[in-house]
């Protein structure tokens, strides 16, 4: 008799347990850098680290191969070619200049070159050298490092 009662209580108890138990605390929220694919230091503020996603990270890689020579004041080789080029090319983090320009427009200037878009011929066309994916990545990188920060048209709405 007692054994049967115990059995019943045990059944009830285990049913309750399976219903409510088994949950543990969700993992702590990690910092933005902890989950960043890559990162870039703010060009104007060495203390500020900008997390980059995959696409922005590819843009950074291509930028430092192809574009850094004229669109930054410091290059992996040391001096920049920016001062040799007139009109002076915009810095790639220059949000004041680049933020108002659409992704589509920037993509055309990069792909077809400055002269095709009524700008300086000193900007060569890159559509034969870079893929559309790479050009999009370059623009995503510019948006990520922009100072003042870039707000996408979707975000503004």
């Amino acid at each position: 008799m007692r054994a049967r009662a115990l059995l019943l209580f045990a059944l009830l108890g285990s049913a309750l347990l399976t219903c409510c138990g088994g949950k543990t605390a969700a993992p702590a929220k990690a910092g933005a850098l902890e989950n960043a694919y890559d990162y870039e230091t703010d060009w104007n503020d060495g203390q500020r680290i900008i997390p980059l996603n995959y696409q922005q990270a590819q843009g950074k890689r291509i930028f430092y191969q192809q574009c850094v020579w004229c669109h930054a004041d410091q290059t992996p080789a040391g001096p920049s070619n920016r001062s040799n080029v007139t009109p002076s090319p915009p810095l790639w983090n220059d949000g004041a200049t680049l933020n108002p320009l659409s992704d589509d427009y920037l993509g055309k200037v990069i792909g077809q070159g400055g002269s095709a878009m009524g700008k300086s011929a000193m900007m060569p066309p890159y559509s034969n050298t870079l893929t559309q994916t790479e050009i999009r990545a370059l623009i995503a990188y510019a948006r990520a490092i922009a100072v003042p920060p870039y707000a996408s048209p979707v975000g503004k709405r």
């Binding site: 009830l12 890689r61 900007m123 979707v154």
Partner: protein, 702 residues
């Protein structure tokens, strides 16, 4: 009493039993209804309800458990049950809450590949904690995004520029000679890891050995921080072994007794010594010569400016800031005359020295590149005793020194440490954390093993590395990617074995190629260094005369370059042999060798000048004379330097000749290519041709 209420009579018993049975049966459906993933799916439909794209999103959102099954990879992945928007482009951006946000752009389709292939974690779990938990010893804890490139490396075993952290980590694994003690599948042991120590006693003193073994760093910056030894990561290749004083005494005794071949001091021409020893500027002359020969292309020197010490120069060879306090002067002279006689695998070229140069440069190194206080705190034990030497030899074997260093009478110790080929797939339960107070994760374990190995295993023999956090994360990423052979046979096509091609030309060129170690910096047919241009097509690119002049007096074509080709002091005959070999053998099939410069008329050149300066504005990157940019090489002497066939082929498609070159590929017409080629061929420094172009430009523009 209780028994009476519940079990008083059979009817009561039956009623209670039925009630309990009904509740028990209801548990499963109730529990199912309150499942976490149903909660997220309800949240998702609420979230999309008021969006403008609600209809489209709802049409694609199916309820129930979602599953991505990749039998070839052994992956069952139910993450999309809650991560409902990963493939919805309209749900991109930080404004969309997790877990509904679209996956950021990546080269693989997340819907086809699932999540755990990259993120790890429990793909088959359907509640958050079980799928994500990193603290419990799951077989596959989720990988923090910082290390996600490790997953790229489990399949992509060749270089992967898209994954910079993984690439750098792999470089560090090679740089720090991890392969000396550990086996890593797919990585071969190089011919030489650490230097051969067979004659180390003739090179350095016992005191220097003591200092090096204790703390293998030779520089101290203005803040008293010990820094670099030729490695820009701040870590010398030689790790710290944390030896006690007795061990240091014995090992330094053993090593300083290694002098199989004594040094015969070189006999300088007495007249040279007599003349130079009287001159006061010998050291200055030596320094000037050291600079002119571009020793700094491979060797760095510490330079202190405004209180900050930085290394200037390359890292192919060791840093030389304190070399004068390190090596025996007689050894230095012999080394410079013939490095391979001391160290067979050395990449140092054998320069053709005149006695004057050799005397001046060694005087400079012994006088200026010194640190009088380097060995100040080192005990002086005098000559090694037999007992010390014997104890030192035992230590040398016990500490695994022979894993990286060859020494007479000690067999090489391969696979001294554990095999790392499967490290990235190790279960946390298989790791021994000892008394270390660190999170029980594979990542924490790897980082502790590298930066403080004794904390994990006080009896371990693993030496200590002092990496900064970024380098530590990079090398951890590379180690996490080592999960053994990829999970499926179908993936093998993705994997390109690391290339091990060798290029050993024969004959007179082969001898010079070895003497000047051309391959330390240049690539030949896929083999060699990457510091300097690939010479596989050099014969198609350059004229023989230019090559000879360049080798006799290397002037860089790129004014901003810090690391330049050293001056080897080679004879004209040697330069001719090398030029002939390159011209005949190192050819590109894409370059038309038969093009005759005479086919290009001054009129074409004038039209080309117009294109160069106005339409395409090549001067933004290239210099002619003193004007222009310095992204590309100077074209001032292009007519003497380049062949017409090369210029044409280059203008058509630069990347076909030099993959990865940053000159953009334009869409020039054939006419434009010919005119530009004509213009570049007319550019000759000091030659009459440049004047000819200017003279004819008025007529040629038509």
């Amino acid at each position: 009493m209780l028994q009476q209420i519940f079990l008083g009579d059979p009817a009561r018993r039956f009623a209670w039993a039925s009630l309990i049975l009904t509740i028990s049966l209801a548990v499963a459906p109730t529990k199912d209804f309150f499942r976490e993933w149903r909660h997220y799916q309800r949240q998702y439909s609420k979230f999309i309800r008021n969006r403008p794209d609600a209809a489209a999103l709802r049409a694609r959102a199916t309820t129930g458990i979602h599953q991505i099954w990749l039998p070839q990879l052994g992956v069952v992945d139910r993450c999309t049950t809650c991560h409902l928007g990963i493939a919805e482009p309209t749900l991109a951006g930080a404004a969309v809450p997790l877990p509904f946000r679209a996956h950021p752009v990546i080269p693989h389709d997340p819907e086809a590949w699932g999540c755990v292939v990259c993120h790890r974690g429990q793909g088959s779990a359907t509640d958050v904690a079980a799928a994500h938990a990193t603290t419990v010893a799951w077989e596959q804890p989720i990988l923090p995004g910082r290390f996600i490139q490790a997953s790229c490396g489990t399949c992509h075993q060749d270089d992967l520029p898209q994954a910079p952290r993984l690439d750098r980590g792999r470089e560090l694994l090679a740089r720090f000679d991890c392969i000396g003690c550990h086996k890593i599948a797919g990585v071969d042991r190089p011919a030489m890891l650490g230097p051969d120590l067979t004659d180390i006693g003739t090179k350095v003193s016992r005191e220097w050995l003591y200092k090096w073994l204790k703390e293998p760093r030779t520089l101290t910056d203005a803040n008293g921080n010990q820094t670099v030894d030729g490695v820009d990561t701040g870590e010398p290749q030689m790790p710290t072994f944390r030896l006690n004083d007795v061990e240091l005494r014995d090992l330094s005794a053993y090593l300083s007794a290694q002098r199989a071949r004594p040094i015969q001091p070189y006999r300088f021409d007495p007249r040279v010594v007599a003349t130079l020893s009287k001159r006061k500027d010998v050291v200055d002359q030596g320094e000037a010569r050291f600079r002119q020969m571009f020793c700094s292309t491979c060797h760095s020197l510490a330079v202190t400016r405004a209180g900050e010490t930085t290394l200037i120069g390359g890292d192919i060879g060791p840093e030389l800031t304190k070399i004068g306090s390190k090596v025996n002067p007689d050894w230095l002279v012999e080394w410079l005359r013939n490095p391979q006689q001391y160290l067979r695998h050395s990449q140092m070229p054998r320069y053709e020295w005149s006695d004057t140069d050799l005397y001046e440069v060694t005087q400079y190194m012994e006088t200026k590149l010194t640190d009088p206080s380097l060995l100040a705190d080192v005990p002086h034990w005098g000559s090694p005793t037999d007992a010390e030497v014997a104890a030192g030899r035992r230590l040398f074997i016990d500490k695994g020194c022979a894993s990286c260093h060859a020494i007479a009478g000690v067999p090489p110790q391969e696979d001294f440490g554990p095999d790392l080929s499967f490290l990235g797939a190790r279960n946390v339960s298989q790791l021994d954390f000892g008394a270390a107070r660190i999170p029980n994760t594979l990542i924490a374990y790897i980082q502790a093993k590298i930066s403080d190995p004794l904390s994990v295993n006080p009896m371990g023999r693993m030496p200590q590395y002092h990496l900064d956090q970024e380098s530590l994360d990079d090398i951890t990423t590379a180690l996490l990617s080592l999960t053994g052979p990829p999970a499926t046979r179908g993936m093998e096509t993705l994997i390109i074995a690391r290339p091990h091609p060798e290029f050993h030309p024969a004959g007179e060129f082969g001898r010079l190629y070895e003497q000047y170690k051309c391959y330390a910096c240049h690539q030949f047919n896929g083999f060699g260094g990457t510091l300097a241009p690939d010479l596989s097509y050099e014969g198609s690119r350059t004229t023989r005369q230019w090559l000879i002049q360049f080798m006799e007096n290397p002037q860089t074509l790129r004014p901003t370059l810090v690391l330049r080709m050293p001056q080897f002091n080679m004879s004209e005959r040697e330069a001719g042999v090398i030029a002939d070999y390159l011209e005949i053998t190192m050819q590109s099939p894409d370059v038309d060798e038969t093009l005759d410069p005479k086919e290009f008329t001054p009129a074409m050149a004038a039209a080309g000048k117009e294109l160069y300066e106005k339409k395409f504005q090549c001067q933004s990157c290239h210099t002619i004379g003193s004007a222009g940019g310095y992204v590309g090489p100077s074209l001032s002497d292009a007519g003497n330097w380049l062949t017409p066939g090369w210029i044409e082929a280059w203008l058509r498609n630069p990347q076909a000749l030099v993959p990865g070159t940053i000159e953009p590929k334009e869409s020039f017409s054939q006419q434009e290519i010919q005119n530009l080629t004509a213009y570049l061929l007319a550019l000759k420094q000091g030659g009459p041709a440049s004047r000819a172009v200017t003279a004819s430009s008025s007529g040629g523009a038509k």
